[in-house]
């Protein structure tokens, strides 16, 4: 062996070591409504390179070690070989709502992420229920149910104008939504129109007769939904022509109102600050406040997470105390049967319905999100063929484009990751197909130019 050979070998070893040690970090925040497709896509991408526990590992903060629980989690950390990227790719997710996500990548509010050390000792299973260690940081990517223009995010952490990228080419799929009533909704409650929803969210409640046309249906239906960090909220307020920035009157369950399993026994108009004292303490606490548009006022807050809302819709409301959000001593109603109505992503709706919630048609059209194992599932779309056609044709309008935004410029590996995820036939489309979270852009036969805008046939 000559010196040259030794040097070449050493150089090769060095290069090899460098390549082996290369680590790419991807940080993602944003839409909770789209997280199931996102998480499933990421999981499938890692899985394509090798087995869990061998090629990659994952931990998340939701209770449970199954894939269904992983894709429903708010925070997760993956580490391993990602297709197309040399070395180790660490992906960390922290979903906190589309608008709040855009705020996060603009550098105005750093979300909480699990640290890589949360993976602990790598194993062959998904590791659920991991709450720490955590850190806050400015993420690079954010999924959003709505365009940046529908959000109030116009400046970065320095107060300088910011245009999130890739402007004009951010759409990566279509996220679908559906109206949902809580468990116990009567059979006659089948449909809600744009006008009815607009009226309900304006007043906060209305008699069931508004929806059924039967004057005998005097049970009050209360509006419930998300806070203003949510793109889902922007999607429904634009779809109803209500205006994303306008004030709503929404109710949430109180902390004391969800102590009985399967029931909600008290709700309140969302107090200023998202929560109140005593009986007005809400189950979501201060995170229920709406702060992004500068309108933290009575009734304008809502759930910060779609998972909490989804779970509450799977509860009955046969005997409920209703508070006005300001006066804990004078309930508006006591011990009365009520109903709740909201708007969820179809992926979250599928979970809610499986636990007792009821799907409500929108403007006369309804879709039923299905597992891909459902015999009625059409080509792994998550919908029956009939429902799938309603969506792609535009007859069903409860959908918006899903966007993947980032700030600044992307490194070579970040670009590879984005392309892997968003390409036609890429991992996001795989995730969409597997979670009933929406449909692929390439499937659409209709389009709209902005959130809530008219839908035209292509």
């Amino acid at each position: 062996m000559t010196i040259k050979h030794l040097l070449t070998g050493a150089l090769a070893l060095g290069i090899g070591s460098t390549a082996f040690a290369q680590t790419t970090e991807i940080t993602i925040t944003g839409a909770t409504a789209f997280r199931q497709a996102t998480m499933r896509g990421i999981y499938e991408a890692y899985l394509s390179e090798g087995a869990l526990g061998t090629s990659f590992n994952v931990a998340h903060n939701f209770t449970g070690n199954n894939l269904s629980q992983l894709i429903a989690s708010n925070r997760a950390v993956f580490s391993g070989k990602f297709p197309g990227i040399t070395g180790t790719t660490i992906i960390r997710t922290s979903f906190n709502g589309s608008t709040e996500g855009l705020n996060g990548i603009a550098g105005n509010n750093n979300p909480v992420f699990l640290q890589v050390s949360a993976l602990g000792t790598p194993g062959a299973n998904i590791l659920g229920g991991v709450s720490g260690p955590t850190e806050t940081l400015r993420p690079k990517f954010s999924f959003s149910d709505v365009f940046q223009s529908t959000s109030p995010i116009t400046t970065d952490l320095n107060g300088d104008p910011i245009t999130l990228q890739p402007a004009g080419a951010s759409a990566v799929g279509v996220v679908t939504f559906t109206m949902v009533a809580n468990e116990g909704a009567p059979a006659a409650f089948t449909n809600a129109t744009q006008q009815q929803c607009s009226a309900l969210w304006s007043s906060g409640f209305a008699p069931l007769s508004l929806f059924t046309g039967n004057p005998a249906d005097t049970t009050f239906v209360f509006a419930t939904g998300r806070n203003d960090g949510s793109g889902t909220r922007s999607a429904y307020l634009t779809e109803w022509q209500f205006g994303a920035a306008n004030l709503v009157n929404q109710y949430v369950a109180t902390a004391a109102g969800v102590t009985v399993s399967g029931q909600i026994t008290a709700i309140t108009l969302v107090p200023v600050g998202g929560t109140g004292a005593g009986a007005l303490a809400t189950s979501g606490g201060a995170s229920n406040a709406s702060t992004l548009w500068g309108n933290d006022v009575l009734g304008n807050g809502g759930y910060s997470s779609s998972s909490a809302l989804r779970d509450h819709m799977a509860r009955t409301t046969a005997s409920v105390t209703v508070y006005d959000g300001a006066d804990a001593g004078s309930p508006l109603l006591e011990g009365e049967a009520i109903l709740l109505l909201t708007w969820l992503s179809t992926a979250d709706a599928r979970n809610a319905v499986s636990a007792g919630a009821k799907l409500i048609n929108y403007n006369g059209y309804g879709v039923v999100p299905r597992a891909t194992t459902d015999p009625l599932d059409f080509n792994d779309t998550g919908f029956s063929e009939e429902d799938f056609n309603k969506i792609i044709s535009g007859a069903y309008s409860a959908w918006s484009y899903q966007h993947l935004y980032h700030w600044g410029t992307l490194s070579a590996n970040e670009t590879i990751w984005r392309n892997q995820m968003t390409a036609s036939g890429g991992w996001i489309e795989d995730g969409l197909q597997l979670t009933a979270n929406g449909v692929r852009s390439s499937d659409m036969l209709a389009e709209r130019s902005d959130d809530g805008f008219p839908i035209f046939a292509q």
Binding site: A199, S203, F205, V297, L298, G299, D324, L332
Partner: protein, 310 residues
Amino acid sequence: MKLFKTRLRALAIALAALTGSSVVANAAPDTAYNTNDLMLFFQNPAGTVGTDQVVGFSLGSTWDVFRRAATPSDSTFGDTINLGNINAALTTAYGADWTSFSSSIFAGAAGQNGNTSGLSSATSNQDYARTVYVTKPRTGAGSVGSSNSSSVTIPGATTAQGSLASNISGSNASIADGVGNPQQQGIANTVIDENNPFFAGNPSTAYGQISGGVMGALNSTTYSLGSISNIVLALDLYRATPVLDASGWQNINGISGVVAREGYYLGTITLSSNGEVNFVAVPEPSTYGLLALAGAVVFLSVRRRKAQQA
């Protein structure tokens, strides 16, 4: 003739004294917005300056300032109340020549008192739940004590009433930061514009319920109303309550003419060209008497002069 002049001078002194004491009461301007305050707000949607700005001026409690001034048994009844000067705020937002933007700058005022929920049947401070206080632009000087604007009607459905009241509450809160008064805000930070939209250059339905809106445009000329002069904008203030219950203001004070859901005229908010904001309440009957007396004296004077000339 000398005797007549003496009597006329005495009457003038009496009227001046009246003006200086009970007619014009200089109340301390409101220093910050509180829930249930009446908010005066400005927009300049079609202007060249400040189109993206909203100026808000909290005028004080709907019931403790404005309704009291329309309560016959109250010490402030019939007063003209000075509410402060907002010239600096309007200058900052719309320029020093803001008074020249007639038909461009619009202003209105709204407030609410009582529970905003459509489920509530509570009465607080003599206002039934969902009681609102809103303005309509005065179409001309008219006369003190009389409205000179289109009427106000609030909806019959309790859910719609609740929506109206809560929209007013939320809209006012969106412009107030709880510290300064008046406030200037970027329009995107408030929901004043969403709740007070324009259509074809004119105010459209306000708060989703008030047809024709609550705003009026600055006048191109000035006029006087009572003791207030150089008025560039006058807004008639109405109280509209959904239910006339026994513990309501009208019943407790024996005020006739109040109709459920119909606006009841309380007085007029004026903006003068120097930025002064005043509230001219409906004057008490004795003031009417003095004004009538003054009119009679002038009439007699003219008649006597004509008689002497003849």
